[in-house]
Amino acid sequence: MESIVSIDNITKQYAGGFQALKGVSLDIRKGEILALLGPNGAGKTTLISIICGIVNPSSGSVTVNGFDIIRDFRRTRSMIGLVPQELTTDAFETVWSTVTFSRGLYGKPPNPAYIEKVLKDLSLWDKKDSMMMMLSGGMKRRVLIAKALSHEPTVLFLDEPTAGVDVELRKDMWRLVDQLRDSGVTIILTTHYIEEAEEIADRIGVISQGELILVEEKAELMAKLGKRQLTLDLDRPIDALPTSLQAHALELTSDGKQIIYTYNSRENSTITALLEDLRYAQITVHDLHTRETSLEEIFVELVHGR
């Protein structure tokens, strides 16, 4: 698939000597939704800031649609929209003027009809003449999104768009993200909420301590790392697992009423054998259920397993 943003071996050492990024390479595909996950201080914002031109990289290069972000900054930046993590706004400006300002800043001729559409899509139309300082946090977040969309970008960065946002707005936001993707916009978002990435992203990248430790299709990631658990509810509690079952990776709960079998979803052919062995051991099962590990568990394992 065609890539729109190519990040090549980017490093960043801040003035204090802190190494925030240690050689990150990543190809972002045209039209995808990529979620960047990572704990606090992982380097997500730093990476985004470099692509947008707010932070200078120490080494490495980035191209957007084939253009270098430093040599051809005018072209690359006019393609990019950024919703920053921090809620920074001009307190005395009205919603309308601040969004119009952004469009001008990005070099686009005025287009009130388009701005009106953006504000309406974000349910901000009735607030267009309000000063920024009179808006709630969630509304300010929406204004920042409107500003980022004001110049019709083809690549949109959302740095923790749902921090401090209620359920309703979150849904609105995902609807908007879907719409944007349908219109061909590539979206890169960072989040701490794994369910969010799971829900919305096509691909997931995990950053930890300045390194991109993986990038995978969401489904593949789940399949590859996704462990399943089969819980067997026993008819009668048992004291210990019979030796005949040792070949299987089993665990007996402390009350002896359940056997938990953990297996990889890719190679689940041993279940039949297990059930057979159970029958020979004369253990009867009255119920069973399976569970897929969530992305959250995968994520915790990845970050802590290093």
Binding site: S78, E86, D90, F92, F101, R103, Y106
Partner: protein
């Protein structure tokens, strides 16, 4: 050239000016009137004419320069410092704009504001003393060039400052003394010879002198030297700004 960006920044800054129109216009008008009452009328009546001009009239160019310099610096420094302080600068940094556009927007707006202010003060002064401007075009030339140069200087201060104290520091510590000792309120031949020499190192002297020449055709130094000095100052400021944007100093980490 990203013309829309220049316009956006300029309009944004001018809107800020007009939001605070009252304090931006009223306070300099009041302080100018006070200067005229105190220096022009009270003290001036005891001072003989300077170079054939009444002391009150002699004061006008100096007073305009005083406001022009302080206002240019404070407008421009605040204009760029504030978005850095609040964090909204991220947008300017990530936009497809280069140094010339950013400077044109911010400095252009600051210079416009202080030029307007200079003219307002001129109008106020005409209520107190009979004015004559022998070379109106030259007068405008000095007014605008000074406004631009010192707005650039203010822009640099606004980028250099990392707290509000520093923002005030240069205007208070450097600019005010330079203006007061730069012949705004007297002709340098009223000073002892040693001090005359010292004063020649004060760049403001050249501004005031040239500016005063455009009014009354009297000056402490020659017109050419005055124009030369202001061009030098402008060039220095431009180079510093160019360097700032090239390195991202204080703007980008």
């Amino acid at each position: 050239m990203n013309f829309y960006a220049v316009k956006a920044i300029y309009k944004f800054e001018m809107a800020r000016t007009f939001r605070t129109l009252l304090q931006s216009v009223v306070s300099p008008v009041i302080s100018t009137s006070l200067y005229f009452v105190v220096f022009g009328a009270a003290i001036g009546s005891r001072i003989e004419e300077v170079g054939g001009i009444s002391y009150g009239a002699f004061l006008v160019p100096g007073l305009i320069m005083l406001s022009l310099l302080t206002q240019s610096i404070s407008n421009a420094s605040f204009g760029i410092y504030f978005p850095r302080f609040t964090g909204t600068i991220y947008e300017v940094l990530s936009a497809p704009v280069a140094m010339p556009e950013i400077v044109l927007g911010y400095v252009g707006a600051a210079a416009t504001k202080s030029t307007m202010l200079g003219l307002i003060i001129l109008a106020t002064a005409s209520l107190f003393v009979p004015l004559e401007v022998r070379h109106p075009l030259l007068m405008l030339f000095f007014l605008i060039l000074t406004a631009v140069s010192f707005s650039l200087f203010g822009f640099i201060i606004g980028i250099w400052a990392d707290n509000f104290e520093k923002l005030q520091l240069i205007p208070m510590l450097v600019v005010m003394p330079l203006v007061f000792l730069g012949g705004s309120f007297y002709s340098i031949d009223m000073l002892p010879p040693t001090w005359q020499t010292v004063t020649l190192f004060n760049p403001v002297l050249y501004l005031v002198s040239g500016f005063r020449y455009s009014f009354y055709e009297i000056s402490d130094v020659s017109l050419a030297v005055s124009i030369g000095m202001i061009v030098v100052f402008l060039t220095i400021c431009l180079s510093v700004v160019w360097w700032i944007f090239k390195t991202g100093w204080r703007l980008k980490s």
